[in-house]
């Protein structure tokens, strides 16, 4: 079974790219990875269409874990998930965790072949309950 894919959604294109660089350094090409930052004009913000594209790019039969930064990134990611085919939606989760640390830990966990649920719960140990 393929490894869980990781999608990074930041308001900032630079944060998204930088977090993705750190993930690649940790896990190389063993985990499907896609990232997006910025709104449709390239300014700070998030873009539902680009988030949908990223989910497809990082798609894996094991599912996709999304890491987000601030509120709008989460709301737009939820919207993007709902706009995808229903059969994909059950295999996509948004992790409640800091974006950089969360992405690195999610990818490390995913690279070992963990399930989507395990990736999410490991990542969310980073967040105060």
């Amino acid at each position: 079974m393929a490894n869980v894919g990781i999608v990074i959604v930041s308001h900032s294109p630079k944060v998204a790219e930088g977090a993705a660089d750190m993930v690649r350094q940790m896990v190389g090409g063993s985990v499907p990875l896609a990232y997006t930052g910025g709104n449709a004009d390239g300014d700070l913000g998030t873009d539902v269409g680009k988030i949908m594209e990223c989910i497809r790019q990082a798609w894996s039969d094991a599912g996709v874990a999304i890491l987000v930064d601030l509120g709008g990134a989460e709301t737009n990611s939820e919207m993007a998930i709902e706009m995808l085919e229903p059969e994909l939606q059950d295999k996509i989760v948004i992790c409640n965790a800091p974006i950089v640390e969360g992405a690195v830990i999610a990818a490390t966990e995913a690279s070992g072949g963990s399930s989507l649920a395990d990736v999410k719960s490991t990542v969310e140990e980073l967040s105060p309950q």
């Binding site: 709104n39 913000g45 873009d47």
Partner: protein, 200 residues
């Protein structure tokens, strides 16, 4: 509604948002991340750009077009929030809406926004305009258009002393008190303009 009426309504509402870009930006700079004005302007311009191709369709379809466009173009949380509002209005609108059926439609749309934003009235958001407006709509009294317009603006003013507990403004805690919520303001502007157009 004729194609001309749909065009006037949506153009006027989009334009009032665009005209208030700077004010919405200033409000959002005070308690948020300062992007509400430009985000709503971007979304409104995108709605205007594709509007003519939608006008022959039923109003419900035009509302869905507005919702989808806002979701795809706004870039901040207000995109999915306003997008969900318009998408649900479009989805639930009766074929020949009267006041009672429209109240029901708006009520469902507000519920969808609450769910999308994991929020409820009283948290210094657009819901603090939408919920009082729905209440006003349901009151069986004359002068509904004027009542709704007045209520929308007074409800947006009433967010000034509120403390934000959802959205970016909640990061500020007590410091969010004393500023009008930008989402409440944009919502009141849109509802006010809708009343102007429908009231003639």
């Amino acid at each position: 509604m004729s194609p001309e009426q749909k065009k006037t309504l949506i153009e006027e509402v989009a334009k009032v948002v665009i005209q208030h870009t700077d004010e919405l930006t200033e409000l959002d700079q005070a308690i948020g991340d300062g992007d509400h004005g430009l985000n709503m302007k971007r979304g409104s311009e995108a709605v205007l750009a594709g509007l003519d191709a939608q006008l022959e369709k039923p109003l419900a379809e035009v509302l869905k077009y507005v919702g989808t466009t806002l979701v795809m173009k706004v870039g901040g949380a207000s995109g999915p929030l306003y997008g969900t509002l318009f998408l649900t209005l479009g989805k639930e609108l009766a074929e020949q809406p009267d006041l009672a059926s429209f109240s029901q439609t708006l009520s469902l749309a507000i519920e969808a926004v609450q769910k999308r934003g994991k929020s409820e009235p009283g948290q210094k958001t657009m819901l603090d305009v939408l919920a009082p407006v729905l209440e006003e709509l349901k009151r069986d009294e004359d002068g509904v258009i004027d009542r709704i317009r007045n209520r929308a603006f007074s409800a947006s003013e009433a967010t000034i002393p509120m403390r934000a507990t959802r959205g970016r403004a909640s990061f500020l805690g007590d410091r969010s008190i004393g500023h009008m919520d930008p989402g409440a303001r944009s919502c009141a502007l849109m509802i006010g303009k809708t009343c102007d157009v429908l009231g003639g």
